[in-house]
Symmetry: C2
Subunit: 115 residues, 2 copies
């Protein structure tokens, strides 16, 4: 005989089992989302778009770079130093995985509406 | 005359503008998702389901409780101490908001596929 739970329990799957915090964290999710929309994106553009301090943005960019999800390229435009961010193949794959987990989560929460 | 950007820029909206880290953080999102599925849920159930240490889970529960998104009720069942978690009205509303932002994000990323 198989033991069974003595009372009814909620749906027994872990909704975040496949959510990777490297990608799920809100600022990093935004960086990947924006970087995924063009070949490369300027640091200052991200900073203004996301309303972050340079230090905070740098910290998240470093985490994504160390995970191999983005490439960072430093250069100049005229005399101004510029930093460009581009998403890697692994970054696109990680974003796709995150989106697929989020879709499952959305379905689960919307399915629970009546309960 | 209105000044315009000199080169094309990616979609200019902040994808995480309405993502609240209190709810978006992966463990807290999971707690709210599970709590949303039943009237109340036991601490130990959450702990086993999410694979967390008691200390880690407690920390996230405290943040959700302080934000008014869950209620925590302590009691006993037989001689064993039990802690029950239930989602509040504000918690359900916050989860709904998060889900609506996630849906917009999913559409945005899936729409960018071809770029």
């Amino acid at each position: 005989m198989v033991s069974e739970p003595s009372d009814s329990t909620p749906q027994e799957t872990n909704p975040i089992e496949h959510l990777d915090d490297t990608v799920h964290q809100r600022v990093r999710l935004a960086i990947l989302t924006i970087a995924n929309e063009s070949r490369k994106v300027e640091f200052r553009f991200l900073q203004e778009n996301l309303g972050l301090t340079a230090g905070n943005l740098s910290q998240h960019i470093r985490i994504l770079e160390e995970a191999g999800l983005i490439n960072v390229q430093k250069g100049t435009e005229g005399r101004r130093p510029r930093t460009w961010v581009s998403i890697t193949k692994a970054g696109r794959a990680a974003l796709r995985r995150e989106i697929s987990v989020l879709k499952a989560l959305v379905s689960r929460v919307e399915g629970a509406k009546g309960s």
